[in-house]
Symmetry: C2
Subunit: 198 residues, 2 copies
């Protein structure tokens, strides 16, 4: 459902073609929502069939820009104000960190350094994007909200990586592989806080 809303959000700001939208998904939106062109084009057709957007005149090189309709604006507002936000998250960087105890600390540190570099580079990109906004325009004022969230989340990841590298460096080394409590027992009961099962 949210891909539709992402497309309506972009088209509410200005008319765009599928290709333009693909660029956004590789730019600002990259840290917020992602979709590939093969998903975007059919969805635009569906939105047009539902009269939430309308195809404009064809441009050069077979360009097909769409604009939002009044009904599309109504649907977008309703989604914003009268539906629950889906807070489910997926972050592979952090997922991997849960598994880092199975490799030697030095390799874990190497992994964390790579991740830190990735997030630093993204942070630079986001800051550049922020400077390109024209805050006299309402859509850009809202985009600033999104970009600022991206910046703060990336800063959090970079500072986390710094901290994680230091933390992992203090881990006891050696035999991480099989150094877990004997896995033969069937049921480990009793006051078990933390992330261990029951």
């Amino acid at each position: 459902m949210s891909l539709r809303m992402a497309l309506l959000t972009l088209l509410a700001g200005a008319p765009r073609s599928g290709y333009d939208i693909g660029q956004e998904f590789d730019g600002v939106l990259k840290f917020v929502w992602h979709a590939k062109p093969t998903q975007v084009y059919p969805e635009l057709k569906r939105l047009a069939a539902d009269r939430l957007i309308r195809e404009q005149d064809e441009g050069s090189r077979g360009r097909r820009p769409y604009e939002i309709t009044d009904e599309g604006m109504r649907v977008l507002r309703t989604w914003l104000l009268a539906s629950d936000t889906d807070h489910s998250q997926r972050n592979e960087t952090v997922l991997r960190s849960f598994a880092l105890w199975v490799v030697p600390p030095q390799e874990a540190v190497a992994y964390l350094r790579e991740e830190r570099e990735y997030h630093r580079a993204r942070l630079r990109g986001m800051r550049a994007l922020k400077n390109g906004l024209n805050l006299r325009l309402a859509p850009d004022r809202a985009a600033l909200l999104g970009v600022e969230a991206g910046i703060r989340r990336l800063e959090a990841m970079v500072s986390w990586a710094d901290w994680a590298i230091e933390t992992v460096s203090t881990w006891p080394t050696g035999m991480a592989g099989t150094g877990r409590p004997a896995s033969g027992g069937t049921d480990r009961r009793g006051g078990n806080p933390g992330i261990r099962p029951r």
Copy 2:
């Protein structure tokens, strides 16, 4: 692919049943990776068929705990160290913020306040989880990395929401709905920085 690795990560720490894993996906892992029970059970069967995990003796109430095999550990380590991390993100809270200019500022502020409360509540939960870890165990030391990332990201979201509420309060009010540059034109060319198309 990453669901498999999430399951292997959990089973590397200790034997668990599908139900146990479901609890993790509702707990620590919620901010990092999410999967529903209906996805977990079949995937466990597939992992067992591929000999990356092994079914232990059946427990009470039809409980079926699995343990990781040596081959499973090998696959987990290879994934960690020899494959690229998928950095694609999806965050509906921030996606919605890109669209907030289409509603009156006071409604935008109400939305942001709700989001702030949600993230504050989650942050409290994460901090409690952090205190429940037993740092003498290697898997919990790695879990601390993940939990700390969750905490820092949630803190970033809460402080972002604070800032966003103040920012939106200064937005000019009135006619946000149709206050965008006339949408009739076909192609808006020329030096266009920011998030506008071409």
